[in-house]
Each structure stands twice: as C-alpha cells, then as structure tokens.
C-alpha cells in the first residue's frame, strides 16, 4: 500500500521514494490529511523514537527530515486547499551570542514531524526579536536553544523580555541545548525542558492538544 511505501521511504531518508509515493497517493485521490498523518508523520515518529533510543543518530534524522520536506512540498498546497490546519505554531531560535544551530534544526524538524508549524528565527537571536516574532505569529510555544554555558543566561533575559512585553501568559516557553538542565529551566522560569528533539516534540504535541 502506498502509505506504507511512503512511510518506509521516509524512514530510509529516500527523497525520491517519498516524492513518488506522495504523488501516487494524491493521484489515487487519497485524503491529504491521511497522507500527512499515516505516511509522513507516523514515519517521523518512528525516527524520533529510534533517535531517543540512540538507534539512529543526528545525520539519519536530518536525512529523514529532508525526505519529509520533499514530500511536504507536494502535499502542502493540497493540505491548504482541503483546510487542514497545523496543530499549532512555534517560534524557535538559538539565543543571542550563540551560533550553534544543529540541535535547534533537529528540534524544528521533529516539531514539523508532529504537525506543528515552526517559525525558525535562526541563530544569535536577541530577546527583542523573540518578542517581535511572538507578536507577529501568535505561537502557542516558544523554543529557546543554547549550547554554551556563557549564553544559557541569555534565555533568562528572553523570558524576562517576553514578560515585560505582557506576553508571558500567551505562550509556553520550552528550553533546551546540551548544557541546559531541567533544574536550570525551572530557575529561569521556563515552562518546559526537553533533553532531546524527540522528547521536545512529544511534549509540544501534548501542550497544544
């Protein structure tokens, strides 16, 4: 069955396989929503679980995510047409002073892998930029990434700025990155900490549902 093929192709990171599968499914008049959920997202979930268990690692997740993006390009117009909405919005970025983005990219991919729309602000993002993006995109979740012990403190500043802008009650703030701990997350007043991208996406999904 074609959804099964898409699922398998995505897990292998086979870009062409996913594209062909999605096209075939659309040609067969399968529902776009079903293609998304049973073809793409369920495969990303498998990858996420394997990643969490260390069975696969960062490169495989990126390769799989690339395949998912290829499929999404074909699928997106149809999803919009049929009125399928993302399950929620996320504003995500690496804080000021820090240029590490691979972990953050992985988090974005896993978020997209559970059906969230992510506004990725990139790296070296100032507190003001986060605030502006929240005002613009009205996300349910804000994700902050920091990989340096010297930039972890910047997360606190971002949370403060969100509070000062009167937006703190509108968003749930999630933090992560190698040196960040759940204790640190609590101390700076974040709502959630996740130690890896898979966990982050499970938690995010729970939050918006």
């Amino acid at each position: 069955m074609v959804l099964q093929d898409i699922n398998q192709a995505l897990q292998r990171g086979d870009v062409n396989g996913v594209k062909q599968g999605v096209q075939e499914a659309l040609d067969n008049n399968l529902e776009p929503r079903q293609i998304l959920v049973d073809g793409l997202l369920s495969a990303m979930e498998v990858i996420g679980v394997k990643f969490k268990n260390n069975e696969v690692f960062v490169p495989e997740v990126l390769i799989a995510a690339r395949a998912m993006n290829a499929g999404m390009e074909l699928l997106k117009p149809k999803l919009v047409e049929t009125g399928v909405k993302p399950i929620g919005n996320v504003v995500l970025g690496t804080v000021k002073g820090d240029l590490h983005d691979i972990g953050k990219n992985l988090v974005r991919m896993m978020f997209e892998g559970v059906g969230l729309t992510v506004f990725d602000l990139g790296v070296d993002v100032s507190a003001e930029k986060f605030v502006e993006a929240i005002q613009e995109h009205d996300p349910e979740i804000v994700g902050l990434s920091a990989l340096l012990t010297t930039t972890m403190g910047e997360m606190k500043k971002v949370i403060q700025a969100i509070e000062d802008a009167g937006l703190r009650d509108k968003v749930r703030i999630m933090v992560g990155g190698a040196p960040v701990t759940s204790k640190f997350a609590q101390e700076i007043g974040a709502d959630l900490y996740a130690k890896d991208a898979a966990e982050a996406s499970f938690e995010a999904k729970k939050l918006v549902q």
Binding site: E55, V56, F57, L62, T149, T150, T181, F184
Partner: protein, 511 residues
C-alpha cells in the same frame, strides 16, 4: 566557620563564607577539584563524599555547613607532554644574553602547563617541569572559565592571580632543578590559547565566548616581569606569542614554528586536538586555519566509563583472535578508559563489524557467537563489555559522543580542504600536536576517521608543539618574528557562520 576536607589521607580545614557551596569554598582554598562545568551542577565531576551523611553529593550543589567532613577523590595529576621532536635553530636569543643569563619558555595549556629552563648563551636545556593548570577548578574548558568571570565579580583578577602564582611555581621548580637564582632569568616566552593569554594579562575574555568571538588582543605582547608579578630578574621581560583569532591561539603559532608548513611546496596539515581542535592547512602559497569544538570526549569526559589519562586508565586496546588485549597506564588494575583507549576500542569495534557505518551496534544475528558474548545492555541499549567482570563498558551512547567529537574535527579538516580546493591525497604531511595527538594510535585514528584514512602513512607527531615553539622564540628572536609573520599570513575561517558546515559535519559523523 569551617569544613574539614580529607583527601588522599590528608586532612585540611577550609573556611567558607555564609551561603557558599562546598565547591566554591574548596576552590578559594585551592583544593584540587575536578569540574567541567565550573560549578553549574551539570557535569557531575565534582562529586564528593559527605562523611556524616554517608553519601556522595556534588560539591557545587552542596551548601557549606560548619563542621562538615568532606572527602574528595580528585584524580592524580594528568600525564603531561613535555618532550617534542628535535628542531635546529640559530642561537640568537630574544634578549641580549651574557654568561649566566637564563630564559624560561612556557606552554600554558587549558589542562596542564609545562616550563623549560634554557641557557640563553648556549641554548642548552637545563630543566623541565610541569603542573596542572590551576584554573582547571574554574571549569575544564575555557568557556566555563569565562562564564565564571561573567558571574563572579573579581573573577578575571582571580584567574590571573592563580595563573601568575603557578608561573612563579614553575620558576621555583626550574631554579631548584637547574640550581640557579631567579634573578638570573632574563626572559620568558609564553605560548597558550587566546583565552588563557587574556586571563594571564588580566583581560576579560567575555568577547571571545560570544559571537562574533573577537579577542581583545591577538598580537604578541611584551611585558615587564614586574608588571605581572613574575618572580625573575627585575628588568626581565615576558613575551607572549601572537594569536591568530579568538580560538586559534599562540599555542598554534608555536606549533607552526615547529612544522614549517609555510616553507614547503607540498601541503601540510597541523591538527591540535584538545577540547577544541585547531587545524591549519598550508604551504608556501596559502595558509588557512579553523577551530572546531570537539568537546572533552577525547579526554574521557561524557563517556560512561571515561577517565583522564591517569593511573588505571585503559590506554590501548585490541581484539586478537577473539580475545581482548589491553594495557593500562601504570600497569594498574583497569578503572576506566582514556582518550587513546577510546579510539582503539572504537576502531576495533568498527573493524570487526560490531558497529556499522552509521554508528549503530549491529543486530546480534549478524554477529558471530564470540562477538555476541562480548555484548551486554546498559539502560536498555547495547554496549560492549571492555573488561569482563567489571562495569567498564563502551555503550551505544558513548559511540554517539565519539561521533560528535570526531565529526567536528573531521568536518573542520574537510572545510579547510574545500576552502583550499585541494584533495586529501595532496597533503604531504599531517602533524599531530597536543596530548591526545601524541598518545592516540595513528592507525586507530584513521580507522575511526579522525584523520583522513589515506594519510595514515604521512602522520608525524610533534608532541608539545606549543612548548617547542616557545623555546624556539626564546633562543632565536627571528623565530618570534616569524611567528608574527605567520599570524599575518594565516586566513582564519569561522566555521559557525558557514552554511555548508552542517552538511560536512553530518557526513563526517559516519564511519
């Protein structure tokens, strides 16, 4: 208010300030402590034993209380690299020398420091001494130390003071061994990374920790010994070698003075592996350099059974006819695995198909019975039993840590190759510097892919290149000038702003 510290069968009373943690109290009293995170509670290395409560706790999470009895078990001093390859030079000392004039060359590493005492008139080396860098207690890597100065007023001065004290300690040792007086030391040359040189001069290095990572100074500095409080001749001078950038420091310039890349037609590659990997690629026509963050995995940190290269560490490992063969430092009973052992284990597991090219442990039905017997599970994940009957294992998680570290270094190498538009095979010589570079088995490093595999036959170890470079500068001032020229010639490549780095890093993580 005091706590009582017991370590290695010695007792010592340590005062503390109200509200202070045990960790901070110990640091202020200069009690050696292991820490990678500088007291943030994240690395788990500052574990101590609280005698009254009979339990292990992290010193940095433990508020000090009057009368506490604390046992520490800090590892013995790490193996230090003092000897390097031989290098010829013209005797033309950096300061005018008469008979009875001596000089000291120092390499201040992040973890250890080495000092050499040299006769400026004859060039003869009289003594060598080494010690742990006392700044270690503020964090294993330089970033954690900068974080300390960010959070603690007076931290910059504290880091400077402790380093100057250590340099004076080195001078005292050298003078003892060489049987000379301190005021006969007329000059001192110093190599070290950019952050360390900032701390030595009492300059905040915060700007190096945050994008765009600009140092406050990178030129070689000449200072009066008096100004820094270094105990040597009144009129004595101190020279620091120049740095290339915030993360390619004077230690690398020192190494380059040893390997002469810029004099050759064929390309040479200098790789200095520590928590950061600094890499320089060059020949007569071009010189390019980058710094890539490997993390402390090669020093045993973040590895489940990892440890520093001290007594009891498994330093080499192989599988012969289905049997494990290993050696430990000092021939002691095995306690864990250090960097060189780690690379050997990784290489053997790859060579024997325990681990596939993605870094995953092979499914057990693909393995021979003797191989299956060597595996176990740790936290539900496969692991290789390194020493049967102990909990020294090499886990799936550990493989992932190795992949990040070796991926970062390899991606740095390949970024430079790409930038210079040259193929690996065009490289004539690979110079390996630094402690890890000196102890790691070259074959293993090539199997794992830390060094491009086709270059295995072309690897030369230069040992402590930074220290040798500092010596050259002390004895021949044209070498010091050459260092300044090198600084000007080298084009620095910042990896963190390159769009293609992620792709190269992903490729480099596979085996």
């Amino acid at each position: 208010m005091k706590i009582l510290i017991r370590s290695n069968h010695r007792e010592q009373e340590v005062p503390f300030r109200p509200g202070e943690t045990v960790f901070n109290a110990l640091i202020r009293s200069r009690v050696p402590m292991d820490s990678y995170c500088g007291g943030k509670g994240t690395c788990g290395k500052c574990k101590v034993y609280w005698v009254q409560e009979a339990r292990e706790v992290l010193a940095c999470q433990l508020p000090a209380e009057d009368g506490m009895i604390i046992e520490t078990t800090t590892s013995q001093d790490v193996q230090v690299l003092a000897s390097s390859i031989e290098k010829t030079f013209n005797l033309n000392p950096i300061v005018a020398a008469h008979s009875g004039a001596w000089g000291v060359a120092v390499d201040i590493g992040t973890t250890t420091m080495v000092g050499y005492l040299l006769d400026l008139q004859t060039g003869q080396e009289l003594a060598v001494t080494s010690m742990a860098n006392p700044q270690r207690v503020y964090g294993a890597d330089v970033i954690s130390r900068i974080a300390y100065t960010q959070e603690n007023p007076g931290g910059v001065e504290e880091l400077q003071k402790i380093l100057v004290q250590a340099l004076n300690g080195i001078i005292t040792n050298l003078c003892d061994v060489g049987q000379i007086r301190k005021d006969n030391i007329k000059a001192m040359t110093i190599a070290g990374n950019t952050v360390i040189l900032h701390t030595l001069l009492g300059v905040s290095a915060v700007s190096i920790a945050n994008a765009p990572f600009e140092p406050i100074f990178s030129h070689g500095q000449t200072l009066a010994a008096k100004e820094l409080g270094i105990e040597m001749a009144e009129e004595g001078s101190i020279f620091t070698l120049p740095c290339v950038s915030g993360y390619v420091g004077a230690d690398i310039i020192g190494g380059l003075l040893v390997c002469d890349l810029e004099k050759e037609d064929s390309y040479g590659l200098l790789i200095d592996i520590g928590t950061n990997g600094e890499i320089v690629l060059g020949n007569k026509r071009q010189m390019i350099a980058c710094s890539t963050a490997a993390g402390p995995a090669f020093e045993g940190a973040k590895i489940s059974s990892g440890m520093a290269g001290v007594r009891g560490a498994i330093a080499s490992f192989s599988l012969r006819d289905g049997a494990r063969v290993y050696e430990t430092i000092g021939g002691a009973a095995p306690l864990g695995i250090c960097g060189s052992g780690l690379m050997d284990i990784m290489a053997e597991l790859l060579a024997h198909g325990f681990i596939d090219s993605t870094g995953a442990f092979a499914a057990s039905d693909g393995l021979a019975p003797w191989q299956r017997e060597m595996l176990t599970t740790v936290n539900g994940m496969p692991a290789f039993v390194v020493v049967p009957g102990t909990d020294i294992t090499f886990t799936q998680r550990d493989v992932r840590e190795v992949q990040l570290a070796k991926g970062a270094i390899r991606a740095g190498v390949f970024t430079l190759l790409k930038e210079g538009q040259i193929a690996p095979a065009q490289i004539g010589t690979v110079f390996l510097a630094g402690g890890f570079g000196n102890f790691v088995d070259v074959h293993s490093a090539c199997v794992v892919g830390l060094i491009p595999e086709e270059l295995e036959e072309r690897v030369v170890r230069i040992g402590n290149g930074a220290g040798l470079g500092a010596k050259l500068c002390l004895l021949d001032k044209t070498e010091f000038d050459r260092g300044i020229e090198l600084k000007k010639r080298i084009q620095y490549i910042e990896l963190s702003t390159r769009a293609d780095f992620q792709e190269l890093f992903m490729d480099a993580m596979f085996f």
